[in-house]
Amino acid sequence: MPEEPRPRIDITVDGAAWSVPADCTIAAAFTEHGQVAWRRTRRGARPRGLNCGIGVCFDCLVTVNGMPGIRACLAEARPGDVICTEEGSGFGDQGS
């Protein structure tokens, strides 16, 4: 029996409309879109994305529906999510 195609959902990432697999993590959504970095470090503005992948390192943080500091590797993408990549701490301080 052929496998059912996995359902997809729509989310917004930095203002762009993305179609991503339902029930995937936000990190997986980025990865599927070929984007490996989605945060800049607080000092030095170096790129960060998936590192440990299991919720320990706090490197893959994104802002989800206005809430900064969400671990993309643990958070599932939900229909309609508005996701923003982060600069600095993600709390609007833009690093220093």
Binding site: G69, G88, S89, G92
Partner: protein, 386 residues
């Protein structure tokens, strides 16, 4: 590793104290090897907050050591560069209620008489210094000379400077014995071979008693466990090191049971560190949600804004505790060539440069910059036989 070479000094331990000793010894022109069982700063140094405090020291030998060290840190800060994250941010000790106000003022007055800069802060002035402090506190004392450093980076950078001056650093190398010849130290045996040396510095932190025992000496250094809770990185909410006046009493206590006080500071990386607990439970590394919960609760009472912050992890470490709360710095009384630089309890980062300078002065036969009497290793035996 056995090279046939004889070093002037082998330093045991690459925490902040061993690293500072290696740096000052190399700067004095001695040949130095550092041996470390784990990796740089993998013990107590990597499990603290990096405090360089005068505020918690009562007048006496530890305060004098801290004042010397504070001056040396300021010089080292420029030499180590911005990666050490040395921040002269100042410390604020708050009185939770009127009953803490008087003893805190008396403590600060005695410190001021001993040369510490202090500034009395009224309850009304607290929000200027720390806008997010809870309401209803009874004021405090501000200590502008208190500083903070990233302790792991500082240790690594000190070792790098020592290496630039010719020191050899051997991580993952465990000392298994102290060698003697003709009644004095002649080197150490390690998991990777022997190292010959004229002098050995015991900078093994809470394990310094074990190293002393290998040399047939007794040092009553015991581990005193502490936990620290770490928040997610946040914009600057807390500007200084802030702690409650009961911290000083907890540090000075001899109790083996759990004691906690509220000690909070931000870091250059944006995280906020929440301490402090003290308990004597040996080298038990197991987690204690009870302690972590207590620390988090106290922190939220002092800074209600922290209730909204997310904790991302906690860690624990072991302070090298001596029964009289003073470090052990000096030549061993009975075994020539053995020097001790240990027992700094929770103040090792702050006291490291002065310790390194004193050890280098002892190792080269110079007069020490401070009287070492109260810190001498033999004091425990005198107590025992008294």
């Amino acid at each position: 590793m056995s090279s046939g070479r004889t070093y002037d000094v082998v330093v045991v331990g690459a925490g902040i104290v061993g690293s500072a000793c290696a740096y000052f010894l190399a700067r004095a022109g001695l040949t130095v090897a550092v041996v470390e069982r784990g990796t740089v700063a993998s013990g107590t140094t990597g499990a603290g907050e990096g405090n360089i405090l005068l505020s918690d020291k009562e007048p006496g030998p530890e305060l004098e050591l801290a004042r010397l060290s504070n001056r040396l840190w300021r010089e080292l800060g420029a030499e180590l560069g911005p990666a050490a994250e040395l921040e002269p941010k100042g410390g604020l000790v708050v009185a939770a209620g009127p009953e803490q106000r008087k003893p805190l003022d008396a403590f600060a007055a005695a410190q001021a008489a001993a040369g510490v800069q202090t500034r009395r802060v009224s309850a009304d002035e607290l929000p200027e210094l720390e806008p997010h402090l809870a309401a209803g506190l009874a004021g405090g004392v501000f200590y502008p000379e208190d500083m903070q450093v990233q302790p792991m980076m500082a240790a690594a950078l000190l070792l790098r400077l020592a290496r630039d001056l010719g020191a050899d650093v051997h991580p993952r190398t465990e000392v298994t014995g102290v060698q003697t010849a003709a009644g004095r130290v002649s080197g150490v045996r390690t998991s990777h071979g022997a190292l010959a040396a004229g002098q050995v510095v015991n900078a093994a932190g809470p394990w310094a008693g074990e190293l002393a025992a290998m040399a047939g000496r007794r040092l009553p250094v015991l581990p005193r466990r502490g936990f620290i809770v770490v928040t997610e990185p946040l914009p600057v909410l807390i500007r200084h090191k802030v702690y409650t006046a009961d911290y000083v009493a907890n540090v000075a206590s001899g109790s083996a049971g759990l004691e906690t006080s509220t000690v909070i500071e931000g870091t250059a990386g944006g995280t906020i560190l929440i301490g402090a607990s003290r308990e004597r439970v040996g080298f038990d590394r197991s987690s204690s949600l009870r302690v972590v919960g207590l620390l988090a609760g106290q922190a939220m009472r002092l800074f209600p804004v922290l209730a909204e912050a997310r904790a991302i992890r906690f860690y624990r470490g072991f302070r090298p505790y001596c029964p009289d709360h003073l470090p052990v710095i000096g030549a061993d009384d009975r075994l020539p060539g053995l020097l001790h630089a240990c027992g700094h309890e929770g103040a090792g980062v702050g006291l490291a440069p002065a310790t390194g300078q004193l050890i280098a002065q002892i190792a080269t036969g110079q007069a020490p910059s401070l009287p070492l009497g109260p810190l001498r290793p033999g004091r425990f035996e005198e107590l025992a036989s008294a």
